[in-house]
Symmetry: C2
Subunit: 310 residues, 2 copies
């Protein structure tokens, strides 16, 4: 049983109440707060030493990443973050300076996005550092974007470049908050999420939630320089395109929009965010799964994905 | 540097914004949500294997405790919990059934208190299970109770009995949500918190936040049966009174009220909650610290507390 199967199993029968507009399964939960205009967004995420960072990672970047991941989930709903609480689990012997630097990195990012840190707990985790962040924010009820709205015929877009994030970007990526809000305010976006587990896996989340499929044009997928450099390293390395599909930790925006809006959106984007690439990588189709189109023709991307490309 | 010193250091300069009514340092944060009547409460807490539970603890009770601790913090503000998100960090090899049982215990308590579980993440923590819960709730703006309102002359009350919680109660305590709301609605409570680190330590939090001191009547402190039984075990055991002051994990309510309200409150309590003991354990005084009154006279309880009683 892998992580996704377990989560699916556990989130089948979660307790709910009348405040819940969106429960487990999207990037954030959305809750009623008795406001006709706005919903509350609620999200938690954790980073663990040896998995999301190493003992050598500068502590400022650890703290930054712990918050940035949650901010990216608020972006994925087109929301605005408001306040976070932080739990740092630490080995019994630690340098106070280490923890101060974790907070320094976290606080700096929080300040830049206007986020208040309203609780800071510490507890013990003897073998490794673990940081859990929970975040609340708001979203305009009519502008909230879910994974479930993709429609057959939609164009599929992704921001930035994918793959190779572990070479460094995973520690200093920018949560796409402003970009997501701009998209929600200016275009009729049908589905939105952030790419955290890799394009192949995350696109499947949109497809499953929307009950559609996708055709992805191989040559249109934006591949990062880091993924290309990694691929040159030798036989053991993933091909760059596979890295772009499966590396994860990209924290870019993945969204769909009616095909008639695709060109106007791309034009407006280039004016608004000239420094951030936006790529149309394919379209939503009725056939389930991800169909990959390349020169030689099309083929279905298996659930395991990259094994077929190695 | 101990946990409290570290937290004090780290929470000195946390980023804030105009939504923050109560930031780090009380039982929960309280945030503006654009509602004239209500504030949002926000809290996180974690339990760790080997610290808050053991490998032998029934998993249902682990899940229950993880949520119950957060619920107790909402009670400590006289609030009502609404929704929680849960992160479970697990060793790579685990029994899905174990995790299902954690959720079963957590979900049952959530349902009983009308709390929705709106996010369930899993991550890896190779050596031990760690569960982090974040909780939001609401509180009537005018009925919210903080640690900072104690006034000289106030009577100090505590619910239930203290000490010896690790003998079992820490796994099945009832968060005092209904009791706290009843107190806030029916009496002018000056300061409220939950007793999680032990009476001696937690009372000091009220005293520090309110800039007052306390005189505690030794014979009035309610000592649990478990603490008394532990004390009989031999020379290595803590005296029962010391256990009541320092064991922690009691999750009872500690509050202060004007002395003229003490008797009416006690009378009304007995009618409303006949099964739950309420004890007046002393009064708020101007002299800083905790003064202990016993037959032989009074003495100041040291910050280290129980060393003096052994």
């Amino acid at each position: 049983m892998n992580e996704f199967e377990l989560i699916r199993c556990l989130t089948r029968d979660l307790p709910t109440n009348e405040s819940v507009v969106v429960g487990a399964g999207d990037d954030c939960a959305a809750l009623e707060i008795g406001d006709a205009e706005r919903l509350l967004l609620f999200k938690t995420d954790a980073v663990v030493e040896g998995i999301h960072f190493t003992r050598e990672t500068p502590p400022e970047k650890i703290g930054r990443k712990a918050l940035a991941r949650c901010l990216s989930d608020i972006a994925a709903m087109a929301g605005t973050p408001t306040a976070a609480v932080v739990t740092i689990a630490l080995p019994k012997k630690f340098e106070p300076e280490f923890v101060e630097k974790i907070y320094a990195g976290l606080n700096a990012l929080a300040e830049r996005h206007g986020v208040a840190i309203v609780g800071g707990e510490t507890t013990t985790n003897p073998e490794r550092v673990l940081i859990s962040v929970a975040l609340v924010g708001f979203v305009a009820r009519k502008k909230m974007l879910l994974r479930s709205g993709a429609k057959v015929g939609d164009a599929i877009f992704v921001t930035g470049e994918l793959g190779g994030s572990l070479a460094g970007r995973h520690l200093d990526f920018e949560p796409r908050l402003a970009e997501a809000r701009w998209l929600a305010e200016n275009f009729s976006i049908h589905a939105l999420m952030d790419v955290s587990d890799g394009l192949a896996g995350d696109l499947r989340h949109i497809l499953a939630a929307s009950k559609v499929g996708a055709e992805v044009l191989k040559s249109a997928v934006p591949i990062s320089r880091a993924a290309k450099q990694n691929a040159k390293r030798g036989d053991a390395a993933k091909p760059a395109f596979v890295a772009a599909l499966t590396d994860g930790e990209d924290f870019e925006l993945l969204f769909t929009v009616a095909s008639r809006d695709a060109v106007p959106l791309l034009d407006a984007w280039k004016k608004k965010f000239p420094a951030l690439k936006l790529s149309c990588i394919g379209r939503i189709i009725a056939r389930e799964g991800i169909t990959l189109r390349e020169k030689a023709g099309t083929r279905l991307l298996s659930a395991q994905g990259y094994a077929h490309f190695s």
